[in-house]
Amino acid sequence: SQTIHQWPATLVQPVGSPLSLECTVEGTSNPNLYWYRQAAGRGLQLLFYSVGIGQISSEVPQNLSASRPQDRQFILSSKKLLLSDSGFYLCAWSVRYEQYFGPGTRLTVT
């Protein structure tokens, strides 16, 4: 069966510091991968998606970037965090249309 991991689970970072969030998927090959952000009381905002190694599509211009160095690894990064980057970050994978989400990383920028 397929599983998706995200780490860390919780992160508190100061403004201006760098960020690296990691997501890995097990039990499937060549998945589509997604990064979402969910702000408190708001819906899911798609940030990036990837259909293959090195292929990244950005949905919203922002302070973040994404990379896919391996087939089942997806990384979300920032060089300098802003207060507005705080939120719940979710990674998801799909093969067809339905997406399966990871447990999420709660990021607080102070």
Partner: protein, 114 residues
């Protein structure tokens, strides 16, 4: 106008009640429909998905799609306190060769009381 509208609730029902959760949408190109359940501070969990009009049943859950009215519903029978969560609808156009991009409702918060 948002592409997908969903009442945020909260919706409070007694244990054992039948719950009806609904979404309306404006984009007639949406062909694939999903319902997710999200517990507090957890990732969304896929409950059901369907691409055809009509009903799809899975245990206590029934997903209903009415494409002519652009309206989808999730019914929960014999609701339990463990059903207390936020329920998100999501939908997608059908395409080939690219990643599926889902459009989500903002979620309805459900509370099932003893």
């Amino acid at each position: 106008q948002k592409e997908v509208e969903q009442d945020p609730g909260p919706l409070s029902v007694p244990e054992g009640a039948i719950v009806s959760l609904n979404c309306t949408y404006s984009n007639s190109a949406f062909q694939y429909f999903m319902w997710y359940r999200q517990y507090s501070r957890k990732g969304p969990e896929l409950l059901m998905y369907t691409y055809s009009s009509g009903n799809k049943e899975d245990g206590r859950f029934t997903a209903q799609v009415d494409k002519s009215s652009k309206y989808i519903s999730l019914f929960i029978r014999d609701s339990q306190p463990s059903d207390s969560a936020t329920y998100l609808c999501a939908m997608s156009v059908i395409n080939t060769g690219t990643a599926s991009k889902l459009t989500f409702g903002t979620g309805t918060r459900l509370q099932v009381t003893l």
